[in-house]
Amino acid sequence: MSLLRSSFGPRVADAGVIVGLAVFVTWSIAPIAWLLLSSILPQLSLIDQPPDISFVHWTLDNYITVMGSAATLGRGMLNSFIVAAFTTAVALALGAPAAYALARLSVPRSGAVVLLILATQMLPAIAIAIPLFIVISRLGLIDTRFALIVVYLSFNLPIVIWILRGFFLGVPAGLERAAAVDGAGLIRTFWMIVLPISIPPLCAAAVFAFIESWNEFFFALILTRQNAQTVPLVIAAFAGQYQTVFGQMMAAAVISVAPVILLAILFRNHIVRGFADGMLKG
């Protein structure tokens, strides 16, 4: 930045930054804007080339139709919410102590353990789909939210551990020593001292786990039937073999993405700080 300023002067540098940011924001927002616009356009406007997006065609018909089948969408959203919330809660409850142990305790070959935990992420979903289906099926858990929670934990927990371990490594050791001087044991120190200052990375990890669980499609496809169907499957149902109802699909997507966006807005400051701390120190 200072190089920019010295080379081109402050005004040119500021303008460059603003233009750069504007391009980046436009680039990032474009898909969301198109999602919103598609959701209020009729099918005929959407299949035109170029799509006819003029104001006169705007309609809420897609939303009205989607709300008409609210039972399916509502059930999908409820299932997604329950699965995502529970996965997130359990991932944090198990991941935080595990990450702290890996960061602070003298775990033999803790670096290798962390790598091993992350290595579980390297298996493609398709490779474990059939064995997983057999196990879940034999346990009688097909079409249950519990099955999805267990499966989602398997790939969210390692990431949560990775993010939080990075943060815990950066916590000044003096804080914990001071707690020890005051008579606090390891668990008390973790609970009373470390966790309260770890809200940003906890939020970052929570939002990450929630979004991953909310959006997951493949395992939801093979492990659910009708009862535990999550929202990505409900949205995908708008595309058939011979017909795709684009507007309704987009309207359902807008409705389903709202809770995730709300969550991201609510915790935005913590998320940014949390990811920065966790990733950089990891």
Binding site: P42, I222, A236, A237, Y242
Partner: protein, 432 residues
């Protein structure tokens, strides 16, 4: 909003979320019952508007209820969007834990042969005699009939009558030469003469399957009697050259990237292209003012004839009975009900999916409701084979990739066929 109130609301939100989630997860242990204890029939089928049975799609609902009552049967449908059917089925069958009795198939019979049973010969003769013999081709393996196709779904030609009239073209193209000439003459005023979806190679409705139509029209076939590839022939090259010629003469360039028939259909329905080959179901959305700009302007015809005449491929929407079926006799009876003349007629008129029974296809009421029924019936009198095998997806993927390269101008038809033949020979050898 102050920080405190924000914290409070976040905490409340989190507590509330945890409460709802806990209640939701715990509740399912109380109400859940195992699938194994179910009786009756479990049917796995596509969600409407794709071909779906009565009671799932809106037709013959009263007759379906009456059938269940008369047979003291409870039929439970599990419906899934068509694009996801194969993956869920593959996982369930591969794990040996499928709990379905009756399953919809679309060209996958050879692939799932170990998970289904050859029940179709036990259907009443009065039913099977009224179905085109070719309809059993894609559901027959090792001489045994594993399925019954319930809708006659063949690729035929669809065209915009207004565009043809403007171009001074009388009637649909009859031959390959006509098709090339029409494509060139109809490519004008920002429109294209021809559109199709060449973006996805594999499966029925993929690039390879379109080439298979041209292959049969050129007099070629896919395999020798020993199962080795036979398509690297004059007919195979001629078929691909026909696709390349159409590409140059006026195929919508987007066709290379359209990954599903929906995309190509939308181009025709919006009036941006004049001709395409498509499935019979297209007739219905083309008459819907919410989806189509060409209402009353759609014409249908059999596919233009190549050197060996006209030919097509079959969508093969069929019912199969699983190896784990709890009551195969009842499942067969249910299929026979789905194929009964009255249900077939309502299927056609109420949903747009043509019947498979020839007597119903010839019914004046059906032909009036679906004017393309007569065209499809005519197309069915000529060869149609989808050449499905156990490695159908793998094989069509391999051939389609070579066809796509040719369509993009990266190789000639001759080289593409030679490469595709080598790839398929390897696949066949690996699986022998």
């Amino acid at each position: 909003m102050s920080d405190d109130s924000l914290l409070l609301s976040r905490r409340t939100l989190l507590h509330g979320a945890a409460g709802v989630a806990a209640a939701g997860v715990l509740s399912e242990f109380g109400v859940r019952t195992g699938y194994a204890a179910d009786t009756g029939l479990d049917v796995f089928a596509p969600l409407p508007p794709d071909p779906s049975p009565p009671g799932a799609a809106k037709f013959s609902e009263a007759a379906f209820a009456a059938w269940q009552k008369a047979n003291d049967a409870r039929v439970k449908y599990e419906l899934l969007a068509w694009p996801q059917l194969h993956d869920r089925m593959a996982t369930a069958f591969a794990s040996g834990t499928s709990d379905w009795d009756l399953v919809y198939m679309c060209g996958w019979v050879p692939e799932f042969i170990d998970s289904i049973v050859p029940y179709a010969d036990t259907l009443p003769a009065s039913t099977t005699a009224d179905m085109p013999p070719s309809s059993f081709k894609t559901v027959t393996w090792d001489g045994k009939r594993y399925g019954a196709v319930f809708t006659l779904s063949l690729l035929t030609l669809f065209y915009n009558t207004e565009h043809l009239e403007i171009a001074g073209l009388k009637g649909p193209p009859q031959t390959w030469d006509d098709l090339k000439r029409y494509t060139k003459e109809l490519t004008r005023d920002g429109r294209y003469g021809w559109v199709l979806d060449y973006g996805d190679s594999a499966g029925i409705g993929g690039t390879t399957s379109y080439w298979m139509c041209f292959l049969q029209q050129a007099g070629g076939t896919m395999y020798n009697k020993d199962g080795t590839p036979a398509f690297n022939s004059d007919a195979g090259v001629m078929a691909l050259q026909m696709m390349l010629d159409l590409m140059k003469l006026g195929t919508d360039p987007g066709s290379i990237s359209y990954a599903g028939i929906n995309d190509a259909t939308n181009v025709l329905l919006s009036g941006r292209a004049s001709m395409m080959m498509n499935w019979p179901y297209m007739w219905k959305p083309a008459q819907d003012p919410k989806q189509s700009k060409i209402i009353g302007k759609l014409g249908g015809a059999v596919l233009p004839a190549g050197p060996a005449g006209t030919a097509s491929i079959d969508g093969t929407d069929a019912w199969t009975v699983t190896a784990s079926c709890k009551n195969p006799d009842l499942a067969t009876k249910l299929v026979d009900f789905y194929l009964s003349p009255e249900v077939q007629k309502r299927q056609a008129i109420d949903t747009g999916w043509l019947p498979i029974r020839i007597s119903v296809l010839s019914d004046p009421e059906v032909q009036k409701a679906l004017p393309n029924a007569a065209v499809v019936l005519e197309q069915a009198k000529h060869p149609y084979d989808s050449f499905v095998t156990q490695n159908y997806n793998q094989i069509t993927q391999a051939i389609g990739t070579e066809i796509q390269k040719a369509l993009q101008g990266r190789q000639t038809a001759k080289i593409a066929m030679a490469n595709a033949s080598d790839l398929v020979a390897k696949i066949v050898k690996q699986n022998q």
